[in-house]
Amino acid sequence: MDDIKIVRKGKNSNGQIRAESLFKRSLVVIGAAMVILVFGILLTLIIESIPSIKSLGLKYLWGKTWDPVNNVYGAAPFLLGTVLTSFLALIISIPFSFAIAVYLGEYNPKGWLSNFLKNTVELIAAVPSVIYGFWGLLVLVPLVRSMELKLGILPYGIGIFTASLILAIMIIPYAASLGREMIRLVPSPLKEAAYSLGATRYEVLKNVILPYTKSGLFAGILLSLGRALGETMAVTMVIGNTSLIPTNIFAPGNTMASVIANEFTEADHAVYLSALIELGLVLFLVTVVINMIGKRIIKRFTNE
């Protein structure tokens, strides 16, 4: 490193060195600003939640009633609603995102069809969520309602299941794109060796590609779960927004994010407002915990 500097010593070297160190310093400052921002948000959430924590205590987490009139707040229905919709969406989306990733990564990586499919899937991620909400309300809800009529369930049409369907569509591109990239990164000597031993395409997929890429596929799934946990607008429009504990997956419910979006603007007591912010804090922590669990799993897989 030093040698290079000596060699390049010329007219402008002092200015250049100063610029270099300024550049490095600004990188550090900007990076640090992000860290400060995240902890600042966490701190704000904690401070603003104190009135609610003081008056409700830990009961907040498993309380079943959310009653702004009598200042009783329990987050359990929303916690359950968030977890239920997100994981249901994940289960629905995995076959699709996996299929897209394998097809685009291994079977058809080049050509117009591949490009077209890839761009379309990426477009799914770019559509604003309120549009999914509208579409869900106008198209998906009547479909689900007619299905519920056939199944003999109360035909609301909106509810946890419909919200999960919408979420599933919204999160497919995240796992699909990451999965596709991962599959394309599998070194071709590995695959060719397997083929030369007489393996079929399916066997190569199962025994070479999947083991090689599973941490990447998992990371993609985790990314989409994070997106599903926090999605607000589309969910609010089709979930039914009731603060009762959902009894089955077709029942109406509510998620933490959509409660905050619904009630924040008109929250007129200090404790009410604080309870909503505490909901934000819980959502924040749930996301962090899920992320940490995901990191652990990825680490274990890659260390094998």
Partner: protein
């Protein structure tokens, strides 16, 4: 390398410019508005009417009114923080807000609004009749089908199908919910003890839709659904709505006239009252005022007498000349009684203890 450094320097300069600009905007927002601008914030319900009134006021007087439609709660908060000249709210200050603000706040009625019961009964072209106890029992989840004997008995000659009832309510906190639940608490002791009244409540039955469009969307899509929306929204979107039996025993069609007459009763001197379940014989029972809120003592935060006078003149204009714009926009103008009380309240505002108007 040189080129890179150049772009880097440029981007640094750009970032600095952005930060300076942002700081500029922030300080501007903090500073008191100039002499020709009056600041208001609050109720989104009254925003269309205010836009019209204030545009006209600007033409005639040159004074600009900057009104932010951020919701009643937000308006009250900004008034409490003294960042605006007047707030606007669909409900009077509650106890907690009154304590927090600390000094007397005047509530000046601006117009009336109403909440209508909208429903989806395929094949039915008549307005149906509803009584207060039936409405309460439907929203409590006690009446579950449309062919309930109590509903049939007051709708003779109307073909009411045997659909199950689906209740749709607002999922977001709102003045509409506040007026509706206030009404239900007045007419049903059961509702009062089990649910109570407020901008957002713990609904015992049904589904929530976000905003008036969310509720009406649910109602339109689901045969047998029932919900509540603002009268203005129902009129503009041509929704079906029910006639409701008022205190004097008459079934009243919600309309601009019947809502105005709901406010034509003896009002308390501070006008801080929900006129739901009105005594007026022709009044529609689920009506309410929307108020402008100002500090009673106008000399605060170093405000000038001039500014206070300008605000009072605007408020005076709102309840007099401004009322002509109400009806074309489907708002119900103030009744005679309400106007009398509003004038009196405005005259009680002071600067250094001396009356302004």
């Amino acid at each position: 390398m040189k080129k890179f450094l150049k772009t880097f320097k440029q981007s640094l300069a750009a970032a600095a410019l952005v930060i300076i600009a942002m700081a500029g905007i922030l300080t501007k927002a903090k500073a008191q508005a100039d002499d020709k601008t009056i600041l208001g914030a609050g109720s989104s319900f009254i925003n269309p009417l205010y836009s019209k009134i204030f545009a006209d006021y600007n033409q005639k007087t040159g004074i600009q009114v900057n009104y932010q439609s951020i919701g009643s709660g937000g308006g009250i908060l900004q008034l409490t923080n003294k960042t605006i000249d007047f707030g606007a709210s669909d409900g009077p200050l509650n106890d907690e807000q009154t304590t927090k603000i600390g000094v007397p706040v005047l509530h000046i009625p601006q117009a009336s609004g109403a909440v209508v019961i909208t429903y989806n009964l395929p094949g039915n072209n008549n307005l149906i009749n509803l009584t207060p106890d039936i409405i309460a029992d439907i929203f409590l989840g006690n009446i579950k089908t449309w062919n309930d004997p109590r509903i049939i008995s007051i709708n003779k000659g109307v073909d009411i199908p045997a659909f199950p009832i689906l209740v749709a309510h607002r999922s977001d906190g709102s003045g509409t919910t506040n007026i509706f639940t206030n009404y239900l608490s007045k007419v049903s002791p059961d509702w009062k003890t089990k649910v109570g009244s407020g901008g957002a409540v713990n609904w015992p039955a049904g589904l929530g839709g976000k905003g008036s469009e969310g509720v009406s969307g649910l109602v339109k899509q689901t045969p047998g659904a029932i919900g509540y929306v603002e009268l203005i929204y129902a009129l503009q979107n041509k929704l079906d709505y029910a006639k409701i039996k008022n205190k004097k025993g008459k079934f009243i069609v919600p309309s601009i006239a019947s809502v105005t007459s709901a406010g034509n009763v003896k009002l308390p001197d501070d006008s801080k009252i929900f006129i739901t379940d009105t005594d007026a014989p022709d009044g529609y029972p689920i009506s309410g005022f929307t108020w402008a809120l100002i500090y009673k003592e106008q000399n605060y935060n170093g405000r000038s007498m001039d500014r206070a006078t300008k605000l009072m003149k605007l408020m005076w204009w709102n309840i007099h000349e401004g009322q002509q714009f109400a009806e074309p926009l489907n708002y119900s103008p103030l009744s005679k009684e309400a106007l009398k009380v509003a004038e009196k309240i405005l005259k009680s505002a002071t600067y250094n203890g001396k009356s302004i108007l």
